[in-house]
Subunit: 314 residues, 2 copies
């Protein structure tokens, strides 16, 4: 059955039912079905962020399942919440869908959104479904700072360590594989299809005293460039500090690609990059990859990075 | 200049600058420019709602200015917040825009969003801009219940009065005028282009003890149908209780239309409809148009409504 064969009310009811099967959401005080949702904001503040994913630009239905698209749309936003040092609480979803899209595809998208929200401790609290010639998914994520100050991009200080939690370059490598018409190595393709952001490391970094933090969505060099600019500092990365997985080496050879381009220029894994005072004892999940310095911009082994710098929307 | 000629960072910077010109937002603790915004939620809860507007389905660039489109996208969501009895605090905006769209159009859209947010006491706190073949605007509105319980669709009781605040049918009449290729009466066309929801009446109705409330976005009969269903009651409307403006009579005659269809079936004005205990002394802004009864569905003068029942997305 296509969504065009259903009325709006029936479609919304089907999605709401599917999401309700995921179980009761802890921080959602009033869920889908009214004019608006009500979400807990225990410390009197709410963190909020929005991202839009458009078919053909951010995903392809032949490369990702509906559930993967939903999970990825959720992850992109949940990671932004984590990057403020906050714990995700709720998602709102605006879905624009062609009339010939199947109901099953939309329900599986809802599954993916709900699953990823649940992984991060959140739930889908509400949304809107409209018809459009182009399929797009707009997600807003909300989160709680649990009494802490938000960790912005603007607090890095010279002398701070720069560290990363989560995978870097895996999604970019997977995308490169898919773009060449391959379906393996499976681990890379799966990393592209379903990112695994280190959600709990955001609040943890905040509690450890992180001075600045960012979600790596556009590539490490570019995203750290935002930190450098906002903080009025330079950032020096050390190439040798990055572990290059064997899958990267093998796949890069097969595709005549440079694995460092994936590591430093690839987005979509939604790793977290943060700056910490040098005396901080970092947990295992964090790898030190550089230092904050006086100056501006991001250098790799003292040189300007000449590889790709990630995603450009326009 | 088209947005396709700008990088993403430059486009976001231009929009953020334009919004910043609107002045400092009261409830926005951290505005655009980081991974996420931080918005005040003074009573430990946040009201949140999302709507998506798609070009060709929800607006046309030849019928509405960019500023009007922005204002209408904001109003649709701000009214949903008010319909919970909450005061709007912030908007997040996801904009999908074709590369050939002019920068000026996008900046004027931001103006409209900011102006309408400001009218409701809120501000734009963040957003995302992506490229798409189809222009769409996804808005999430946040709001504060100020310690009150949310007014849902589910609390109406037999014997309650049904009352309406704000305009009914004006936008539908204006849309009918535009659809026939006319540009006047001006008052109707302007009502379509820029709705004026009675934002402050939402919290006021809540404080007066409203038992149920809804934003009239799809037409009064259809939206009250949601209240009847959620509350497990019937709603009886009285035709004679609706004032039919002279503009409606004249324009309906010219277009061979029925003005009651606009009043009872027209959405997009974002009036508020609420149920109140019969003893409540209603302020001037509210007109009683019917009663909550035992039963189900919505009747007009005891009859099933056979006119149009508003917008269907699919």
């Amino acid at each position: 059955m296509t969504v065009g064969g259903l009325g709006e009310d029936a479609l919304v009811a089907a999605i709401t039912q599917r999401l309700a099967d995921a179980g009761p959401p802890a921080g959602v005080l009033l869920g889908p079905g009214d004019d608006a949702a009500v979400v807990a904001a225990p410390d009197g503040r709410v963190v909020a962020t929005t991202d839009v994913l458009v078919e053909g630009r951010h995903f392809r239905r032949d490369w990702s399942s509906a559930s993967d698209v939903g999970a990825r749309a959720a992850a992109a936003n949940l990671a932004d919440v984590a990057a403020m040092g906050a714990v995700p609480t709720a998602l709102l979803v605006g879905l624009a869908v062609p009339a010939d899209c199947s109901l099953e595809w939309v329900l599986e998208l809802a599954d993916g959104l709900g699953e990823e929200a649940s992984t991060a401790g959140a739930a889908v609290a509400g949304g809107d479904v409209v018809r459009s010639e182009v399929l797009s998914v707009s997600v807003t994520a909300l989160g709680s700072l649990e009494g802490r100050s938000p960790v912005t991009r603007g607090g890095a200080l010279p002398g701070d360590l720069v560290a990363v939690a989560g995978r870097l370059g895996w999604a970019a490598a997977g995308l490169a594989v898919l773009s060449r018409g391959f379906r393996s190595p499976r681990a890379l393709v799966e990393a592209y299809r379903r990112p695994a952001p280190p959600y709990t490391e955001g609040p943890r970094a905040s509690a450890l005293g992180a001075t600045a933090m960012v979600d790596v969505s556009d590539g490490l060099v570019r995203d750290l460039g935002h930190v450098a600019k906002s903080s009025g500092v330079g950032i020096g990365l050390t190439r040798a500090a990055f572990h290059v997985p064997q899958e990267f080496v093998d796949t890069a050879r097969a595709l005549s690609a440079d694995p460092m381009h994936w590591l430093l220029g690839g987005g979509d894994d939604h790793a977290l990059a943060a700056c910490f005072p040098p005396e901080v004892d970092l947990p295992m999940a964090w790898s030190v990859v550089g230092r904050v310095e006086e100056g501006e911009g991001v250098l790799v082994d003292g040189q300007k990075w000449t590889g790709p710098t990630g995603w450009q929307a326009f």
